[in-house]
Each structure stands twice: as C-alpha cells, then as structure tokens.
C-alpha cells in the first residue's frame, strides 16, 4: 500500500510510486480524447522531446521500423502532421470522422527503468477499438506497449506501440484513425 504522504504530488512524480489506477486513469483519458477527436489535447499527453508512435504490420508484430515495413512510424513531427491531416477536411477517409470507441483493459505495469528525469515506466494493455462510419463497423484488436515518463508532475507518453492481434488488416480495411 502507498501511504498518502507518498502519493505523487503536482510538480514531482516518482514513477516508482505510480500504481495501476493512476496509469488506468491516464489511459482512459487518452482513449476519451481519441474518441472525442480532440487530437490537439491528445498531443499534450506526449512527453516533450523525442517520441515514437509505431504500429507494426499484422504479419510482423516484432517489426523494427528501422529495417522492416510497418504501418505507422511517427516521430513527434510526423505525429503532429498526422494530427493536422486528421483535423483537416482533406483527410477524405476521415471526413466526416468515424465514431470510435477505444477500450483499454488488462493494464500491466512493468518495473520502472532508468533513473531521474530519464526514468521510464513500461506498461502493456489490451485494446479493442471499434470504428463506425456510414453504417459500417470495423474493429482493431491488439496490445499497447507504452513507455511512460514523468514530465511536469504528470504521466506522459514517451513511446507507444500498438501491436495488432488480427492476422491481417482486412477486417478493418485501412488504418486512417489513431489507435
């Protein structure tokens, strides 16, 4: 049990003291922002500095973006440009936006790695993302692999990898949305 005086406080967050409910709250908040298409606020959940958002191909779940073809490999710049695209009226596949339901479960915290400002908390979680558009329903099922950091007294995402459990992308058609 974490006693009250050990709880993280604003301005200072010790990843070693972070427990699953706080991580779940953070992931639920992220899911809500994605479902609300509030992508500008979603971007603020990411840590300052270099970040990485990766979705490997269905048939290569361990794919390394440096050597293998992946579906998404966004650094902070490309992620910002992706959000700009999705916010515009010219992302035809997502204009109008799909209605989505990002569902997060099976949250498991690993042991924090690194020390001080560089410390990272590995987290895995199961996801199911439903996407509805023009009467058509599609789904994405898989596992998130996060590396969370403490920045400005808050949890923030340093890296996120969404590994699809589906053997092919075909049930979903494409991946124009954010997982």
């Amino acid at each position: 049990m974490t006693s009250l005086d050990e709880r993280p406080t604003a301005g200072k967050l010790d990843l070693g003291l972070v427990r699953r409910p706080e991580v779940e709250d953070f992931l639920y908040r992220e899911a809500q922002l994605l479902d609300d298409w509030d992508l500008d606020t979603w971007l603020t959940l990411w840590a300052p500095g270099p970040t990485r958002y990766v979705v490997p191909c269905n048939d290569d779940p361990d794919g390394d973006p440096a050597t293998d073809l992946v579906l998404i490999d966004d650094d902070e710049l490309r992620m910002r440009l992706r959000v700009e695209r999705l916010n515009s009226r010219k992302a035809h596949r997502e204009y109008p936006h799909s209605q989505t339901s990002h569902q997060v479960t099976n949250v498991i915290l690993g042991a924090p790695e690194g020390a001080g400002a560089d410390a990272e908390l590995p987290v895995t979680a199961a996801f199911t993302v439903w996407r509805f558009r023009h009467g058509k329903a599609s789904y994405y099922v898989g596992r998130y692999q996060y590396r969370l950091v403490a920045a400005g007294g808050e949890l923030r995402i340093r890296a996120k990898r969404s590994v699809l459990a589906m053997t092919e992308l075909r049930p979903a058609g494409d991946l124009a949305i954010l997982l």
């Binding site: 290569d60 579906l71 992302a91 035809h92």
Partner: protein, 432 residues
Amino acid sequence: MTMTGEAPPVNTVPLVDEDVDHHRFRVHRDTMTSAEIYREELERIFSHCWLYVGHESEVAQPGDYVRRPVGGRPLFMVRGAKSGQLHVFHNTCTHRGAVVCRQKAGNAKVFQCFYHAWTFDSEGQLTGVPGRDAYGEKLDFSALGLKPVARMDSYRGFVFACFDAGAVDLGTYLAGAREYLDLVADSADGHMEIIKGTNEYCIGANWKLLAENSVDGYHAVSTHDTYFKYLVALGTDLKGGVQGTARDLGNGHAVLEYAAPWGRPIAKWEPLFGEHAREEIAALRASLVERYGPERASRIADTNRNMLIFPNLVINDIMAITVRTFMPSGPGQMDVTAWELAPKDELPQLRQRRLDSFLTFLGPAGFATPDDLEALESCQQGFASGGVEWNDISRGMARDPEANDEAQMRAFWRRWQQQMGDSACQSARGAQ
C-alpha cells in the same frame, strides 16, 4: 414507354465503348457492379492470365516457402531443397484435399498433411503414405505428387503462375512491361528483396477501380492534398509538378513515366533525405552512370514509374517501390496485398528513408492510401445510385497522352474487353 408493364428493351452493346471520332471512351458501370460479370472474370481473366505469385527473394534458400492466395486459390511457392528450383503448387493434398502448407512462410524439407499424414518433399514428390500396404500394387503413387500450377515462370525475380496450360509464355505475355521491370531490377543490379512486413488490407470496391487508381495521375492533386502538404512541411519543393507520359505496353499493361518533385532512394536527393544522405545518393548515381551510361542512369534514377500489369499487378517505382496485387471477392469487394521491394544491402539511412516514404504514401495507414480507399468506395456507392450508366475515360484522347491523362486505363479496358469476349458485350438494359 413502360406503362404497359413491358420490360425495357435489351440491347447487346459493348460494355467498353470507344468512339475515336468523338474523342469518347466509356465503360459501362455494369462492369463494376454485376455479379455475373464478376463470375465471368474469375473464369475468363483470372483462370487464363499470368498472375503474380511472389518474389524470388522471399524463397532464397532451399526449402524456403511462402503460402499465397493467387487468383483466389490457395497456392504455395517453395524452393526445392534438392533441386534449388522454384515450384508453385496447389495447396491441397492429393489424397482427400486438406491444405498441406499450413504456415504463412518458413523453411521445410517436407510438407505433411495432418489429416492422414501423407507426406510430400519440397519438390512435390509423395514420399510417405501411412499403411501403404493397404493399397493395391498397381496404384501409381508417383502420379500422386503435389500438383504444380499449369504454368510457372519468373522474370527478373518476379514469379508468376498461370492456370491455363495453353497460355502464351510469360515473356510474350509481359510484352512491353519487361522493359520497365528491367528498369526496376537494374537499379540494384538485379539484387532486390522484399522487405519484411506485408500490407494486407481490403477495399469495398470493384477491383478494376484499383487497377485504374494505381496508374491515375489525374487524381493526385485533388485527392492527396494532405500528402503534398506533408511533403511541403518536410521541405519538398512542389513547384516542378509532375511531367511525363503514359504508354500502352501491350496486352493490357500500361505505365506512367514521369518526373515528380519527391526524392528517390535511387538516386534523386531531396531535403527530406537529410544532408548526410547527399553524398550516398551522389555515389549511387555515379555508379548507375558508370554501369548504364548517363541516359539510362537518369531514367532509372530520376523517373517515376506507375505500372499496371494486366490484370491485377501494380509495380509503382516512385519514392519507394511497391509490389501490389489485388483480388476480387465479389463485384464490390477486393483484398489487397502489398509488399515493399528494395535493393539488398541498402545503406541503413537510405533504407530508413525508403521505409518512411512507403508507409507515409503507399501504406494503408499513411497520408494518402486511406483517401484512395475512400475514393474507390465512394465510386462504388455512387454506382448504386443509378441514373448514370457509363464512366467516362476520355481524358487525353485528342493529344499525345500525358501522365495525368487516361490512356493507360484505356489500354487496360481494351484488354479487359478482349479477354472477356462475348460476356463484355451483354445486356446493357436501356443503354444508348
């Protein structure tokens, strides 16, 4: 008048209608929506044309295999462990039918059917039958090896199969497309490989819409505005625009060949690649000039190629190289499978740029392909609206075809009509 309840007149008109005098080329929308035409296509096109199976690099070592649906049929390609030869087999046990290659890819000396444990070696020979003494001595087991496809051949590493034993040979079939496969392969002296990671997606649209879209220069500016904005944000200068031509390569194959603002890993530098890559790109280019002379080197390095090989193979050699095939599962639905082709032993920085270029433009999670899917599905939905019977594909009929004209689609459709024979000339009700 139909007030009397009479059926409207049924005319037998060609579904592909070319009127050179009036600069009009049109295709009846039944070609996109009719279940009957889809069934005829499975027979007349996908059972008689050469179809892409895979790339030799995917089965580089003896015993390497990949499982592939080709023309809607489960097949597998294997490099014989003894002979080193490529084989493409129907993936079905000669005993009672179960598939014998059950993994997507791997290396194996034998393929054993799990149902009754009949065992085949990687050359296709039947080598094991449990309880063989229960069969009469006159049964010819040598005739019960794995069944190879009727025709199999490869060109510059690209492996094709054909289910029609009487088809023309692959080289004749590929016709003018060979020259463009050469340009792709020569960029790396023929040492190309398929990169790990496959795009397997689907589109709720007729397969021929993707054939058209894959070689459609006209839609780029309007449909892919967000991709061009992305390029500009990364420092690409779009001022030069797209300049080039379309060519009919024979047998329904066609290509767009053009200069475009984006860079090419072989071998046209642009700011997106970073300053550090300038020297490497210059060296690659110098080596191309040395091997092929300045003219062909420039064609390999500077020119983009969007090529359609009839019926369902696209090789787009642009800011990256995609090998894309697609197969209908109904008149309004197709499965798409796409791979990335690249030089073996490519410098890591260039490989990274190539991967970036592929996933941001060509991939189903990129800044462009999802919008193509939307366009194609939108067309399919529009067809259901009725009222308009024909698609117009007349652009550029009265001039030398440019890269944003539709001559390449007309080449595809003429061949489609020829291949479909009298079933491309059926009841177009009330057509005029």
